[in-house]
């Protein structure tokens, strides 16, 4: 089967679905795309990888008509096209599945799929034909959804399926997926890959943007690597390796494994006892959870997203009030302390969501470098802020953490994801806390920065700090943790050492085995 497909791909190679010729795009002083050439063969899955800020998203936005290239040509099925807006892109058969879904949350699946293609002033006729067409698409591509379900009730993986159906409904032959697995569980990701393979075998062309090398190796036929606005290489996936791609992405050799020595745990520093936390709707998210974290060890909490890890972190950080149970730092109960008090007690928190919690994106970099610590007298006596001192310290951290561009006066939103995360990590680690709680330290972060952040976390451990780590990346949990606690449905289902194999942990995460 696959041999047949590959043969087919070779046969149509004179007629690529997409050809980009010399695409160039600048935003002010930032040269986001430099003379990009790219050929995507019809009926293949083509991966585009690169670190955050390498220019992948800009390139795809040009293809989808959000931006116009300063120069260069786009050819769709051999025909030069000027894509002025997304309508033109859709009309040329290009569909896009965005990283953050473009769905109306309180509309049904069917309503969302029709959106923008309602067909006439009265809905009734459009609805019935859309329903028929949706049914046909579902059957053809094995993409089952309930057309009358309301989006906000659906799991994330299903919402993504709706996005794909929406693109297909509009007649997309070329699908662009931007970091599609960022929000998915491993099982949902596997299902997505199956769907993508079906789509390819039916003759659709798929562009997959990601920074996860494993995904590239798993499902793409060809892969192009971008670095700092340039297309540095295109390889047949079968003829390359993870190591080669990583090196191409970063421009130097990278350590894919975390190097760390033996843990040297000391006394118990952070202790959680019979903790129960409810969310805003009153649903129990953390159910009678107890564990300890000692000085000099990293305790990882593994689990599929949405099993209470976020609420647990927020309760420890003082953001969410627990409904019962105790949290102790150094033996002192802190369950009712607010985040400001907890910082004074030596608890630092790298939050899961840097955009909404860890950073104020509209602030300049140096302003975020003191978020939460701004009342510290060293940043200004009395009521005033000492901007000189704050900026001087920000410059130090920028150098130490290699935050780019090295400009403390730049708006935080204008930094790439990896550099934004470094701003948060620098702020929390440089306070020299006693305990550090970390949520998704490397979500949406490029490889170079991941390596850096992991090294810092291990250094903190070796400096006898107590570290609690929550991540949905099982690899990350396994390579960093000294002990692994698995959460499922708000409960701790077991504890393992990092040597435990992935399958055992996976079964525990699914609530099947303990």
């Amino acid at each position: 089967m696959s041999g047949f497909r590959k043969g087919k791909a070779r046969r149509v190679s004179h007629n690529p679905a997409i050809e980009l010729v010399g695409i160039d795009k600048s935003f002010g002083a930032v040269h986001a795309n430099k003379n990009i050439h790219l050929k995507v063969e019809k009926g293949t899955i083509h991966g585009i990888i690169g670190e955050n800020g390498a220019g992948k998203s800009t390139l795809m936005s040009i293809l989808y008509g959000f931006y116009q290239a300063d120069s260069g040509e786009i050819r769709i099925n051999g025909q030069a096209l000027s894509i002025k807006d997304s309508q033109t892109a859709i009309a040329s058969g290009i569909g896009m599945v965005h990283q953050h879904f473009m769905l109306v949350e309180n509309f049904t699946v069917l309503e969302n799929i029709m959106l923008g293609a309602e067909g006439g002033q009265l809905l009734a006729k459009g609805v019935s034909s859309a329903r028929k067409e949706l049914k046909r698409l579902e059957d053809e591509y094995d993409l089952k959804v309930n057309p009358d379900a309301v989006i906000e009730d659906l799991p994330v993986g299903t919402q993504q399926r709706v996005e794909i159906l929406k693109a297909l409904y509009r007649g997309a032959d070329i699908l662009i997926l931007d970091e599609p697995t960022g929000v998915l569980t491993p099982a949902e990701a596997d299902h997505l890959f199956k769907v993508l393979k079906v789509l390819r075998d039916q003759g659709k062309t798929i562009i997959l943007i990601t920074h996860k090398l494993r995904e590239i190796m798993a499902i793409t036929d060809e892969v192009s690597v971008m670095r700092r606005g340039e297309m540095v290489a295109t390889r047949k996936t079968a003829e390359t390796t993870v190591e080669e791609l990583a090196e191409l992405m970063v421009g130097r050799r990278v350590l894919l494994r975390v190097e760390k020595g033996e843990a040297n745990p000391g006394k118990i520093l952070l202790s959680v006892k019979n903790l129960t936390v409810k969310d805003s709707r009153g649903v129990t998210m953390v159910d009678n959870v107890s564990f300890d974290v000692r000085e000099g060890e990293i305790v990882g909490i593994a689990g599929v997203a949405g099993n209470g890890q976020s609420e647990l972190l927020e309760a420890i950080a003082g953001i969410r009030k627990p409904s019962s149970g105790e949290i102790l730092i150094d033996g002192k109960p802190i369950a009712n302390a607010d985040p400001a008090r907890l910082r004074e007690l030596g608890l630092a928190h790298i939050p899961e969501d840097r955009h909404h919690m860890g950073l104020v994106l509209k602030f300049e970099e140096y302003e975020n470098a003191v978020l939460g610590y701004h009342r510290d007298p060293k940043y200004g006596k009395g009521a005033l802020l000492d901007l000189k001192a704050i900026q001087a310290e920000a410059v130090e951290k920028i150098e130490k953490y290699d935050i780019r561009p090295p400009n403390p006066r730049l708006k935080t939103a204008n930094f790439s994801g990896g550099n934004q995360q470094k701003i948060v990590v620098a702020r929390e680690i440089e306070r020299d806390p006693k305990a550090l709680i970390i949520g998704q330290p490397t979500r949406g972060v490029d490889i170079g920065a991941i390596e850096f952040i992991h090294r810092r976390i291990v250094e903190m451990r070796d400096a006898s700090k107590a570290i609690l780590l929550v991540s949905v990346e099982l690899d990350e949990i396994r390579s960093l943790s000294d002990r692994i606690i698995v959460m499922f449905a708000g409960r701790i289902v077991g504890e393992k050492t990092p040597e435990a194999d992935e399958q055992t942990l996976g079964l525990m995460m699914a609530g099947i085995a303990a």
Binding site: F27, G28, F66, A340, R341, P351, V360, G372, H374
Partner: protein
């Protein structure tokens, strides 16, 4: 969407774009004027002459400007904390009570410069007090600040009429107003300042409040961009979830921001009450609180922007009054239409020309 992230130099963002908006607003106003059968160029000349042509005209313009600076700052401070204070009108009205009580108590005993600091405090305290209840309701009960401050405008207005008609009225007089303050309760005119520029102030009530307003501009700038409290307010205003993460207390920050906002609105009363009429009258605020919303919007909630926006609205107010006097076809309501157009283009549609300018700028830069 596609051009919003492209950076433009400051002279375009803060100079050219507002200027273009203003020109378009005046152009459409001109069409309206032409449509009702008057010459738009004559109307524009009359408006500008009426606002800036003579010493007393400038005095009146700056008098209105002063009021608008106070209310503009009031709206801006709340806005930085993510609060839309629609209640500056009522807070200014109640602030007038505070100023008047101080003036009535002290004017017989001390000169104006002794009364002034107490009057500033009185006006600010009363204005802040009027903002406190909506602030408390927002902070502790989640009652929406827009709704409560609007309602408090009405309550404030009714309360002031009651007080002026039944309590503060001079016995035996018909007018619902307090007695006239003695010079010890008045803020002197700034005729010396006008004289420096060779202009005569005449009867215009341009007074010391203007200087107080400029001082407040500086203090608001200091508060918002140089203090820890201002930092917390801005964090809360931009990202409430980041504020929670940072341990910034929501209730306290909301209440303090609204107290400062109400205090600034209250201080607006110094200008008409102690600087112009020398007594407390009904409806002395005259919509300045609402103009403050437009001023803050146009001035991008920055004190320097607010000064310019307040000046623009001062010109429209004073020049508009003169224009409707000279051209009977152009009524007061027409002036309101013109002001509305300015608000529409400079406030609500402020980014309308941005995409086009981005294209022109990029082409220009490449060339």
């Amino acid at each position: 969407m596609s051009t919003a992230s492209v950076p433009l130099p400051n002279w375009i963002t803060y100079g050219l774009i507002p200027l273009l908006n203003l020109i378009v607003a005046f152009f459409i106003s001109g069409l309206v004027v032409w449509w009702i059968g008057e010459n738009p160029f004559t109307a524009l000349r009359l408006l500008i002459e009426g606002a800036l042509g003579r010493g007393d005209a400038i005095g009146f313009t700056l008098f209105y400007t002063t009021s608008f600076i106070f209310t503009g700052l009031s709206v801006a401070v709340a806005f930085h904390a993510g609060l839309f204070n629609i209640g500056s009108e009522g807070q200014a009205y109640i602030g007038g009570l505070g100023a008047a009580l101080v003036a009535l108590a002290l004017d017989q005993y001390v000169p104006w410069y002794v009364t002034m600091p107490f009057a500033i405090m009185g006006a600010a305290l009363f204005g802040a007090g009027w903002a406190f209840i909506p602030a408390w309701l927002q902070a502790k009960r989640g009652s929406h600040i827009v709704i409560t401050t609007i309602m408090f405008n009405f309550i404030g207005a009714a309360l002031m009429v009651y007080l002026l008609v039944n309590v503060l009225i001079v016995p035996g007089k018909m007018a619902p107003e307090t007695r006239t303050f003695l010079p010890g309760g008045q803020l002197p005119k700034l005729d010396w300042l006008m004289a420096l520029f060779g202009a005569k102030l005449g009867p215009a009530p341009f007074n010391v409040s203007f200087i107080i307003a400029l001082v407040m501009c500086y203090l608001v700038w200091l508060l918002i961009w140089r203090t820890k409290l201002g930092y917390e307010m801005r964090t809360l205003g931009i990202s409430p979830s980041a504020a929670v993460y940072a341990g910034i207390p929501y209730s306290r920050t909301v209440i303090i921001a609204m107290l400062i906002s109400g205090g600034l609105a209250g201080m607006m009363a110094l200008n008409p009450v102690m600087g112009a009429s020398a007594r407390l009258q009904v409806e002395f605020v005259g919509g300045a609180g609402f103009v403050g919303i437009a001023v803050s919007l146009m001035g991008r909630s920055h004190p320097v922007g607010i000064i310019f926006a307040a000046l623009l609205f001062g010109i429209l107010y004073q020049g508009g009054a003169d224009l409707s006097f000279e051209m009977p076809n152009i009524t007061r309501e027409m002036i309101v239409v013109i002001q509305g157009l300015v608000i529409l283009f400079a406030g609500a549609l402020e980014y309308m020309f941005r995409p086009a300018l981005v294209h022109v700028y990029q082409r220009f830069k490449r060339a």
